[in-house]
């Protein structure tokens, strides 16, 4: 392993590959910050460039950089504008946006950056240690387990069922599920509930719904009731995290990077479920006072999904790197790029 590590370090430190990492991360972050562009579309655009380089490791390094850069930058629009462009950063807006509204935007972005870094790094360490073992475990997961995992992910809604709100949270969840049934399902290739409208054949777009539910009402509220500019201005660029805050975030980083990584390992689960689950789990572990803060600008509520989605992002490379099975839509694109490089993949 040590030998491999050294070879890897040597390859990664070559001038070309270093340039690829930096370029990939930069492109990923800046495009990821724009609401509405997820890692999928960015990677799809980058693939021709990656292929033209003709070196599989450089191509993969570039695309991987774009991928986690996009998740990293995607939280920015969630936090500042309540406009998540990637499903994996939806949970970051639950607490990140209230924080920004309270004039703590700088702090929220710092926490997001630090937690993403920690999640990604710890995820990479876990990847190094566990990748060979985990590949076989991931294959034990069948559709039944995935179904159960989705139910666990749905349990994150409990966080929004405040006092006297249980029925409201339930009806909203049901309506979300109802909207998901519109269009052609993957399993039944029959269009359902489209009312004969052609444009509904493929169902509603995730970004459309995310924008309509989160960003648009917020913008309309801003129109209806202008906020006093002075109050938000206060310490918007204050980045400092106090020692007390750091102490409350540290255990979350520890737990969520591990949990997020292992969820990410499962093919098809990925950053979205990891972030919802991280949010739900940390809310249950929080003390009563902290729990009341969740959804209203809690730093722990922001740290949990931010750590989890980056760790999951790293974890989704396990099936790709060990078996040649894509763990998510995004890694499927990566795999496509690799196959185009005629590199031998997995055992199959």
């Amino acid at each position: 392993m040590l030998e491999g590590l050294l070879i890897g370090l040597q390859t990664a430190m070559s001038f070309q590959n270093l340039a690829m990492v930096i370029a990939g991360c930069l492109i990923g972050t800046f495009i990821g910050m724009l609401p509405g562009l997820g890692p999928m579309s960015i990677i799809a655009i980058m693939i021709p460039i990656a292929i033209s380089m003709g070196d599989p490791s450089a191509a993969l390094i570039l695309l991987a950089g774009v991928y986690y850069g996009a998740i990293f930058g995607g939280s920015t629009s969630s936090i500042l504008l309540n406009a998540p462009g990637v499903a994996g950063t939806v949970a970051s807006s639950f607490d990140g946006y209230p924080m920004a509204q309270q004039g703590r935007a700088g702090k929220a972005l710092t926490i997001a950056a630090v937690c993403s870094f920690a999640g990604g790094t710890i995820g990479a360490i876990l990847l190094m240690i566990f990748a060979p073992m985990l590949s076989s475990v991931a294959l034990l997961f069948h559709s039944a387990e995935y179904f159960a995992l989705m139910v666990v992910g749905l349990s994150a809604i409990a966080a929004f069922a405040g006092t006297g709100q249980v029925a409201k949270a339930m009806i909203m969840t049901v309506f979300g599920l109802i909207l998901a049934t519109v269009g052609e399902g993957a399993l039944f290739s029959l269009p359902r509930f489209t009312g004969g409208v052609m444009d509904l054949q493929s169902g509603f777009g995730f970004i459309t719904l995310a924008m309509a539910m989160f960003a648009l009402p917020e913008a309309l509220f801003l129109v209806l009731k202008p906020k006093d500019a002075g109050s938000v201005e206060a310490d918007i660029t204050d980045l400092r995290i106090t020692r007390v805050e750091a102490r409350s975030i540290a255990p979350i980083i520890g737990r969520q990077s591990v949990q997020g990584f292992f969820i990410g390992v499962l093919p098809g689960a990925g950053a979205t479920i990891a972030s919802f689950l991280g949010y739900a789990v940390e809310r249950n572990l929080a003390t009563k006072e902290e729990q009341a803060e969740f959804g209203k600008g809690s730093i722990t509520g922001l740290a949990a999904p931010e750590t989890a989605n980056n760790a999951a992002c790293t974890g989704s490379f396990v099936p790709l790197l060990t078996l040649g099975i894509p763990g998510s839509g995004t890694t499927a694109l990566l795999l496509g790029a690799l196959v185009a490089q005629t590199s031998r993949l997995g055992h199959g």
């Binding site: 579309s41 655009i45 029925a167 339930m170 049901v174 039944f188 029959l190 509930f193 309309l220 009731k225």
Partner: protein, 160 residues
């Protein structure tokens, strides 16, 4: 009756229509071989419609005592807020949606950004116009050149 009850009533109506579609119309066109499956395309919607109806009835019946909370915006005094601006902006968005294809990206986006600021009460004409034009150009460059997503730039009769 409070607003949340009225909304629950509307949602109940949607659930009933959805449920009717799922229970009585969807299975008719099902191929015979699919009827042997333990799960049909209509199974999940059927369950959802029942869950939705139950949840709506809970809200309507008021079994659950919800604490009266002062929301960020009190809808009963909606007219005291800048409702006109919000409605105009929504109309502008609809107009943008209808114009994007026929009129093209560049003119409609510039007009959208310009009129949006105008509706919100901005009157610095030169600044408004330059911001709108420059932002449109940047987004256009990004979407078209960097991302390679095709959008018709100009009205059709300009050969766009």
């Amino acid at each position: 009756m409070a607003l949340d009850r009225w909304i629950a009533l509307i949602l109940l109506g949607i659930c009933l229509v959805y449920g009717y579609t799922a229970w009585f119309t969807m299975d008719a066109g099902l191929a015979p071989f699919m009827k042997r499956n333990p799960i049909w395309p209509s199974t999940f919607p059927k369950v959802l419609s029942i869950l939705g109806i139950v949840a709506c009835l809970i809200i309507l019946s008021g079994v659950e005592k919800s604490e009266v909370k002062i929301a960020e915006i009190d809808y009963r005094r909606l007219h005291e807020y800048k409702l006109g601006q919000a409605l105009l902006l929504l109309a502008l968005m609809v107009a943008y949606a209808l114009c994007l294809r026929p009129v093209g990206f560049l003119p409609s986006t510039t007009a959208f950004l310009f009129l949006g600021a105008f509706i919100l009460g901005e009157r610095k004409w030169v600044l408004m116009l330059s911001v709108a034009v420059i932002a449109t150009m940047i987004v256009w460059y990004l979407v078209q050149q960097v991302l390679g997503i095709y959008m018709r730039p100009l009205p059709g009769f300009f050969g766009g």
